[in-house]
């Protein structure tokens, strides 16, 4: 499948970079690479290869280095993500409060492993080191909403609310 990627948004981002983040020759400072990639991902939802190639040409930062950075950090994606992202906290408090079971249940319901996206493109399932809301353990975050003190049956109900059409309950 060939999808056309619109370069308009990335050009807009590149045009808005402050002068202090640029070198004297007008190229982007390599130190600004991570915030730049974050802005691009916010816009596109992931980092399309074609956009990265474009960024490399404009900035002069080698594509190999851009890939190196993307693959190192967990929050960069090179594939489109699901409409909803389910983040299951795997922090210590959540672990003590049976967080592993919640994680297993999510995997079971969605039929995907951690880091994968459902075939219908509705859900991406991730685990995170700690959401910093240990007092709600075990915690799951769906998009920007927290669900705390979960049990297996509750998480099942919550996920069902987001499907089948992916509209908010």
């Amino acid at each position: 499948m060939i999808t056309t990627i619109d370069l308009e948004p990335v050009n807009k981002i590149l045009a808005q970079i402050e002068l202090s983040e640029k070198l004297t020759n007008g190229k982007i400072k390599p130190a600004y690479l991570i915030p730049l990639l974050q802005d691009i991902q916010d816009e596109y939802g992931y980092l399309p290869r074609k956009v990265l190639e474009h960024v490399s040409t404009i900035s002069g930062i080698p594509l190999s280095r851009i890939f190196g950075v993307i693959t190192f950090y967990e929050q960069f994606y090179m594939e489109p993500q699901g409409k909803h992202t389910i983040k299951c906290c795997r922090g210590t408090a959540c672990h003590v409060k049976n967080g592993q079971k919640i994680s297993d249940t999510i995997s079971e319901i969605l039929g995907i492993a951690e880091g994968e996206t459902t075939e219908d493109g509705l859900f991406t399932f991730e685990t995170v080191a700690c959401l910093g809301t240990c007092f709600l353990a075990p915690v799951v975050m769906i998009d920007d909403q927290y669900f705390g003190n979960l049990t297996n049956s509750e998480i099942t109900k919550i996920i069902n609310k987001y499907s089948p059409k992916g509209d908010m309950p």
Binding site: R90, F135, T151
Partner: protein, 605 residues
């Protein structure tokens, strides 16, 4: 803005605050996850409908600390904290408590004026003082309680060396983990040659189980900025970074807003408060790598590279960001600075123990009744934190261990409950202060599983640069997984110990050097649990799935069939209203039958 303008602004804010006598402080940071914003909307709607605007004000504050009661609100002037409040309770609270001065026992959890006992009684709120009494989104609120006054005082009447002298005298040690004396770090950077220096605030709070930096950034962001201004002045930096974890959206929002407001007031930028000192702050979001909490990895990340640590020396104080002298401090460390300037280093050092000064914020979580953020003087015992402040273990369970210091720390057993906690004492028992995560575990927690959990975490987060960490932690994790899975062998414990020593002594950075700690402490205090797993194929805590067997107790089974219906592998058989049984050959020990049985008829052993 000049110093006198700042002072008169503060006076003006203080006077205007006195016009309204009744306030409700709603935590809209940590409690947002429990519906705090809906509560704010509910109160504001009620105020508007009933024309109470001149009498009652709603403050969207930071964290109050007792997070287990979320959403938690404080009513002033009574000082009552009401917990688990819902939007439908709004009218009752305003009518009874605000207008009628009546306490509603149903919501009441604690008061700020309770004296010696209970949740606040054992605490010493120095650093968290402003969390919960100001709206962190409003710089005027912060200035009204004295924000930036200490930075102004330092810029006006102290030399950089005098500032450093005070911090040295205070005895403050880094609150991020390693506990290096802050004043000394500043001195190295101050003395390093070069005009271009950098200050970095490490807000990449990655330790699972720690959330004090999050609360400070969310609830009192100007305190961090003020600490940074003083630090930058002391070391001679004109540019600073706040490297904040992207998993904390509210913290990113509040600190970004705070920096912008400080710039508008001239508290950041050129010629701050007419002193001639210039300082700017840039916010950078992390991209999800635990290792970036390590200072050289953090610097690499700021430089737009893969966040991998490098060997030291040279230390960042001499060669840090872009090869320039750089000082890195943790959020909580910087939050201590205004207090040190206010009280002087000498007075500050009167709190705490011989070698650990001041207070420490702990994130209390796990199997404890009151979970949340607590600030206590150094030297307090674990028992006071868990049993007096935390009010003990729920469900009548017994204390087993406290995990302190996250993946670099260790599990402290019951025999050390009365140990006075400071940097040194924790090191002696094999744990570390770390950033202050304190996870309480009851007798249902398996210590081998705990060690496995942390090694799995470290393995995933190891950057892969050095072999001992990359390969060593992998082997340790695999051995632990085998033990938890019932396939432990004789000699596994010895192998773990040997690997632990190697990984500890030969890894490049602190991530690897401290990775074996969870294994070493659990082996030291709970060796019998390892042996039970390996030799008896039993998990004494009843936690490790592969070592459990499930059976149905005939005397309790009513034959309701719920377990049979819920079993994912159809391992349960039995006719309606007759006693059911589990086929051990098909059972995958998932525990679902145990969970759904309402008659305690499923036994785990």
């Amino acid at each position: 803005m000049t110093l006198s303008e700042l002072k008169s602004l503060r006076e003006k804010i203080e006077i205007s605050k006195k016009l309204i006598k009744q306030r409700i402080y709603i935590c809209t940071t940590g409690c947002r996850a429990s519906g705090a914003l809906e509560l704010v909307a509910g109160f504001n709607e009620y105020i508007e409908k009933n024309n109470l605007a001149g009498i009652l004000e709603i403050v969207e504050s930071g964290c109050h600390g007792k997070c287990s009661q979320a959403p938690l609100i404080r009513l002033e002037p009574s000082g009552y904290y009401y917990g688990k409040v819902k939007p439908e309770d709004v009218s009752e609270i305003v009518e009874k408590t605000i207008l009628g001065n009546e306490k509603i026992e149903r919501f009441y959890t604690v008061t700020s004026q309770e004296g010696e006992k209970g949740f606040f009684g054992h605490q010493k709120k120095d650093i968290l003082l402003n969390c919960g009494i100001i709206d962190p989104k409003k710089i005027d609120d912060a200035i009204g309680v004295g924000a930036y006054m200490q930075a102004a005082a330092a810029l006006e009447s102290m030399s950089p060396l005098q500032v450093i002298e005070n911090v040295l005298e205070s005895g403050l040690k880094g609150r991020g983990g390693a506990g290096f004396p802050t004043g000394l770090k500043w001195k190295f950077c101050h003395n390093a040659p070069g005009d271009e220096k950098y200050l970095i605030c490490n807000a990449d709070e990655g330790d699972p189980g720690a959330f004090m930096d999050r609360a400070l950034l969310e609830g009192s962001p100007h305190q961090i900025i003020e600490g940074m201004i003083i630090a930058a002045y002391a070391i001679g930096a004109s540019r600073g970074f706040i490297y904040v974890r992207a998993e904390y959206p509210i913290a990113v929002e509040h600190i970004t807003l705070a920096v912008k407001q400080a710039e508008e007031y001239g508290l950041l930028g050129d010629n701050i408060l007419g002193s001639g000192f210039n300082f700017r702050i840039t916010i950078r979001k992390g991209a999800g790598a635990f290792v970036c909490g390590e200072e050289t990895a953090l610097i690499a990340s700021l430089e737009g590279k893969r966040g991998m640590p490098r060997s030291r020396p040279p230390f960042p104080a001499n060669s840090g960001y872009m090869g320039k002298p750089t000082n890195i401090n943790n959020v909580e460390t910087l939050a201590n600075i205004p207090l040190i300037i206010e009280k002087t280093g000498k007075t500050y050092s009167e709190t705490g123990t011989k070698d650990s000064k001041g207070t420490k914020i702990f994130a209390l979580a796990g199997d404890v009744k009151n979970t949340g953020l607590v600030e206590v003087p150094m030297g307090i015992s674990l028992r006071e934190i868990i049993y007096d402040i935390g009010e003990g273990i729920p469900d009548g369970r017994n204390f087993k261990a406290a995990q302190m210091g996250g993946p670099s720390g260790g599990c402290v057993p019951g025999e050390y409950l009365d140990l006075p906690i400071d940097y040194e004492s924790l090191k002696e028992v094999g744990a570390i202060m770390g950033s202050g995560g304190l996870i309480v575990m009851d007798d249902r927690s398996c210590m081998v599983d705990m060690a496995h959990y942390f090694l799995e975490f470290i393995q995933k987060e190891s950057c892969g640069k050095c072999v001992p960490c990359r390969v060593g932690t992998r082997h340790m994790k695999d051995i632990l997984a085998r033990i938890c899975g019932g396939k432990g062998e004789k000699g596994d414990i010895e192998k773990l110990e040997e690997l632990a020593v190697t990984v500890k002594s030969s890894s490049l950075c602190a991530l690897g050097q401290t990775a074996p700690n969870p294994v070493l402490t659990t082996l030291k205090y709970f060796r019998n649990e390892y042996e039970a797993h390996i030799f008896d194929k039993k998990c004494p805590a009843g936690n490790c799935r592969d070592l459990l067997t499930y059976e149905i107790l005939e005397e309790n089974c009513t034959g309701c069939g719920v377990c049979k219906k819920n079993c994912p592998v159809s391992a349960i058989s039995g006719e309606k209203k007759e006693i059911h049984s589990i086929n051990p050959n098909t059972c995958t020990e998932c525990g679902k039958c145990f969970e759904v049985c309402k008659f305690q008829a499923v036994r785990v052993s």
